[in-house]
């Protein structure tokens, strides 16, 4: 498996330096992980401007690549920044993994998350050793994300959340419950909870993996931990539970057999 790397910083010396450090980090990963021995990280481009990167990825139709970008890629305030570049890259390559290499700690992480998607940050002012260690972790995350995205067998449940469409792995979803107070739905999954817009009926129709257990609740049967037939409660790994309606009792027994 071949992973592509693109680095961009307006100072050519720094860009070069980052590229070198990433190479070292990759070699460290290969030393410590058997499964990485046959994977390679191809340094596709070391650039110093927005136009260079943009031109390259359009010309070569780059997909699923890893990008290390400086947030301020030009001294000129009016020209495009690393953020603009990240935006551009994401629009052409949805699965691109973007890492901002910055001189501050983190610069507007929430803003970027909303506009471009999840972004990682590396502080370039660290000790060389610390920096490489940090890069190692980052690269591992990038590789994992790319693999997941490429994998067709992994199903996602996507929903609109503010400006963006979010997606969560189906395997992580526990259940959806309607919230009477504000006419939204609560989506409960392994790593969190979210309020989303939608109707139980529509979502049930559009998603096969969900099972309707009452007027106000859809569950993912694969994540059910146990069932209490007497109290008509279904329990999930995080300790929460939902009630199912009498009319669905047969369906429950049929599915779970207990």
């Amino acid at each position: 498996m071949n992973y592509r790397l693109i680095v961009c910083d307006d100072e050519p010396a720094i860009a070069r330096n980052i590229a070198d450090q990433i190479t070292v980090a990759w070699e460290n990963i290969q030393d410590e992980n058997e499964q990485f021995k046959n994977k390679s990280l191809e340094l596709s481009l070391v650039a110093t401007s927005f136009e260079e990167v943009a031109g390259y990825i359009v010309a070569h139709d780059v997909k699923n690549a890893i990008y290390f970008l400086d947030i301020e890629i030009s001294k000129d305030k009016s020209s495009k920044t690393g953020v603009d570049l990240a935006d551009f890259i994401k629009s052409r390559d949805e699965n691109s993994q973007i890492v901002f290499v910055t001189a501050y700690d983190k610069y507007a992480p929430l803003t970027y998350e909303r506009r471009i998607g999840a972004i990682d940050y590396i502080n370039k002012n660290q000790h060389s050793e610390c920096l490489i260690k940090r890069m190692t972790q980052t690269l591992l995350d990038c590789v994992e994300n790319i693999n997941e995205n490429i994998d067709d067998t992994v199903q996602y449940f996507s929903f609109k959340w503010g400006r963006q469409y979010q997606k969560i792995k189906v395997s992580e979803i526990y259940y959806l419950e309607s919230n009477n107070l504000n006419h939204k739905l609560n989506l409960i999954f392994a790593s969190g909870e979210s309020e989303i817009k939608g109707a139980i009926k529509t979502i049930d129709k559009e998603n096969d993996f969900l099972m309707k257990v009452s007027q106000s609740c859809l569950i993912n049967p694969n994540n059910v931990q146990r069932i209490d037939l007497d109290e008509k409660k279904i329990f999930f790994p995080d300790g929460s539970s939902v009630y199912y309606s009498r009319s669905n009792t047969n369906k429950i027994i049929e599915r779970f057999g207990r």
Partner: protein, 423 residues
């Protein structure tokens, strides 16, 4: 004979009642003094004069003057004058009615009924009358009283005594003049009061603006010392580096640079001035300053992102509602974070023909179940009412174009609000 007796009775009753009414309204304590006897004696004269119509007006004015003279030390001029005129006006009305009633018996009855009625009236309303005499509108009230008295006097003179030289025309003429004087005088007084109120309001607004500026300046100045010391360190470091470089000791230079980066570039003071200047909505800015200062005081790490200027709040939503939501959200975040180590709060504001606000705070305990949080009365805070998120939801329901989402995992709680974002 009976008439004289009746007259005397009326006189006495009137004097006593007037006196009582006067003391009751002004609130002056009645202490027996010799001068009161003299006062009473002096009053008798005008009272007798009231027998002869023309003297009535004179006697009234005399009464007022005497009262003012005798009591001006014990209360304000306004109060004495106002009360005197009030009492005398009542007398005048009584006199008018007496003119209608005929026959000694009926007159006697009427006087008694009138006195009793007035007694109860003054007993119930003396406080209210006093308040009008000392309140903001005291001049207007006095003016109205004088007008009222003047009208009654003219009417009374005309009606009871029917002086021929006050013909109908001149009567109405005088009436008209009096009306005009009243209206103009009253109007001038009202305008004066309005201006006073306006000045007061302007002053209060200026004071409030001043306090806001002070608060902002305080927020900005809080770490001035820290910045100064940072600059000092910076200069020292450069000097030291220069020395090492001159010696040709490259390793020393690199070590010093590493050390300096580690120690200083993370300084909180540098991170503090974060984008608050991009918030151009004064009320929102003020709220943020208050909350950020609170976080700073509590030692909670925070960051404010506002990469695009926010000039105004979307017109679809009421400003006060939005401020309330933001206020509650920040309070909740602060409540969750205070007293806990390594707690943090991240705030994001973004505006692009719409408005997005996000508040994310660290969690230290098990993540709360979101549907529970929105319920009225639910709270993890001791002694609190638990109305926060419930209130937010209530406000949210008013605006279909407002979207609020909560998210929580084991590390943080996230609040996200979007207004006017196209779906």
């Amino acid at each position: 004979m009976i008439e004289s007796a009746l007259f005397l009775y009326c006189l006495l009753a009137s004097v006593i009642f007037d006196g009582w009414g006067f003391f009751k309204i002004t609130g002056i304590k009645f202490e027996f003094k010799w001068k009161y006897i003299i006062f009473l004696a002096l009053l008798i004269i005008p009272a007798i004069g009231s027998l002869f119509g023309g003297m009535l007006v004179v006697s009234n004015i005399l009464e007022i003057a005497l009262l003012t003279l005798f009591f001006k030390k014990q209360s304000k001029l306004h109060v004495i004058l106002g009360t005197a005129i009030f009492i005398i006006s009542l007398d005048m009305i009584e006199t008018i009615f007496l003119g209608i009633v005929n026959g000694n018996l009926y007159e006697f009855l009427f006087v008694n009924i009138w006195l009793v009625a007035m007694y109860f009236l003054i007993r119930k309303y003396h406080r209210y009358i006093y308040k009008q005499l000392v309140g903001q509108n005291k001049n207007v009230f006095l003016w109205i009283e004088i007008y009222f008295y003047a009208i009654i006097t003219v009417m009374m003179l005309k009606y009871k005594y029917n002086y021929s030289f006050i013909s109908l025309v001149s009567f109405f003429g005088i009436f008209l003049v009096l009306q005009s004087i009243f209206i103009i005088g009253g109007y001038i007084e009202m305008v004066k009061i309005q201006n006073e109120l306006l000045t007061k309001k302007t002053r209060e607004e200026l004071e409030e603006k001043y306090q806001e500026q002070k608060k902002y300046a305080h927020y900005l100045e809080k770490d001035e010392d820290e910045l100064r010391s940072f600059r000092h360190d910076y200069q020292n470091m450069f000097n030291s580096l220069k020395l090492s470089a001159q010696k040709g000791n490259l390793n020393e230079v690199i070590n010093k640079l590493d050390q300096f980066t580690e120690n200083n570039l993370d300084k909180k003071a540098l991170l503090k001035y974060q984008n608050l200047n991009h918030v151009k909505v004064d009320t929102l800015k003020s709220l943020l300053i208050t909350k950020l200062t609170e976080m700073s005081d509590l030692g909670i790490e925070y960051s404010l992102e506002c990469t695009k200027e926010i000039d105004n709040i979307p017109p679809e939503i009421d400003e006060l509602d939005l401020l309330r939501i933001v206020g509650i959200t920040l309070d909740n975040a602060i409540e969750e974070c205070k007293g806990k180590d390594n707690s943090w709060i991240n705030i994001m504001l973004y505006s692009d023909n719409d408005l997005e606000i996000e508040v994310r705070n660290s969690l230290s305990e098990i993540k709360p179940k979101i549907s529970q949080l929105s319920q009225k009365g639910f709270t993890t805070k001791k002694g609190h009412h638990g109305l926060g998120l419930y209130t937010i939801n209530q406000i949210n329901e008013k605006y279909p174009m407002m979207d609020i989402t909560y998210r929580a995992n084991n590390e943080y709680f996230d609040f996200y609000l979007a207004v006017g974002v196209e779906n």
